[in-house]
């Protein structure tokens, strides 16, 4: 039996595709170009632009709605809304197809970049630590726990919206 040189995609069923890497986490393009995704300038630029825009949006909201009595409800809302939107984004991208081309552009620009810069963990942790350090243990613990628990619920809700958006009314999977 002759095997075509170079290995066409979707090759021999019994032998797998010789062009695909063994490790499923390795990007196929990494093998082709020799440059991992996180070292490619165009993809790094997407994360930079998205991140800068996300940080601008967060700071704009924090300037408009400052912290009340040492507790930033704005940061709490930003983290919860960002967790919801990242759930919607990643679930709908995953359901539309493999992480390549336009889908990867959207994931890096809007997900890793914008939502990553919009939401923040360092401010959450520092505000919580300061509240506890000031003796306001209940407020600090409540603020931290509320963010993580409501954030997880928001992520779940976002994923559910991503699933629903992929299956419009009347259409079954």
């Amino acid at each position: 039996m002759t095997v075509p040189a170079g290995g066409e995609a979707g090759g021999e069923a019994w032998g797998g595709d010789p062009a695909l890497p063994i490790d499923p986490d390795v990007d196929v393009e990494d093998v082709a170009t020799g440059t991992p995704v996180h070292l490619r300038p165009a993809l790094i630029a997407l994360v930079f632009v998205g991140g800068a825009a996300g940080v601008a949006a967060r700071e704009g909201l924090c300037l408009a709605f400052p912290a009340v009595n040492g507790i930033s409800y704005t940061i709490l809302a930003i983290n919860v809304v960002g967790a919801f939107l990242l759930g919607v984004l990643l679930e709908s991208l995953a359901r539309r197809g493999p992480d390549h081309g336009r889908r990867r552009t959207q994931r890096l620009l809007l997900g890793t970049g914008f939502m990553g810069g919009f939401t923040t963990y360092s401010t959450l942790a520092t505000d919580t630590a300061q509240l506890i350090g000031d003796g306001r243990v209940g407020a600090g613990t409540g603020y931290g726990l509320a963010t993580v628990l409501v954030g997880a619920a928001a992520t779940l809700a976002g994923i559910a919206v991503g699933v629903a958006a992929h299956h419009p009314r009347g259409e079954t999977a």
């Binding site: 991992p36 790094i44 940080v55 990242l86 963990y121 360092s122 919580t128 630590a129 506890i132």
Partner: protein, 125 residues
Amino acid sequence: MTGVTFVLLCLAGGLGATARFMLDAAIRTRVTATLPWGTIIINLTGSFLLGLLTGIATAHALPDAWKLVVGTGFLGGYTTFSTASFETVRLMQERRYGAAFANGLGVLGGATAAAGLGLWCGGLL
């Protein structure tokens, strides 16, 4: 805040996000583990550094621009809540409840302790 400070804050945020992207990928290619260590390490180190910066700023009356550009901008863009929350939910969906608990509430406790340690060290400097 001046316009220049705001622009620098946004650029620092872009740099922070870029650092997170590259460090997360670098950790992920080296560590195959049951927990998303890339995001965990990023959020713990970022929380410590923001605590340290806040502690130094309080003790030495550092100019506001420093806290805004390095803290709100760079460290805010470097750390992320949305990805951490997504990874926790993914662990829950895989019925790995212990790992989900560690990634959600464990990291919250760890990051708060790291920020507290940073605040304390910053006050001593």
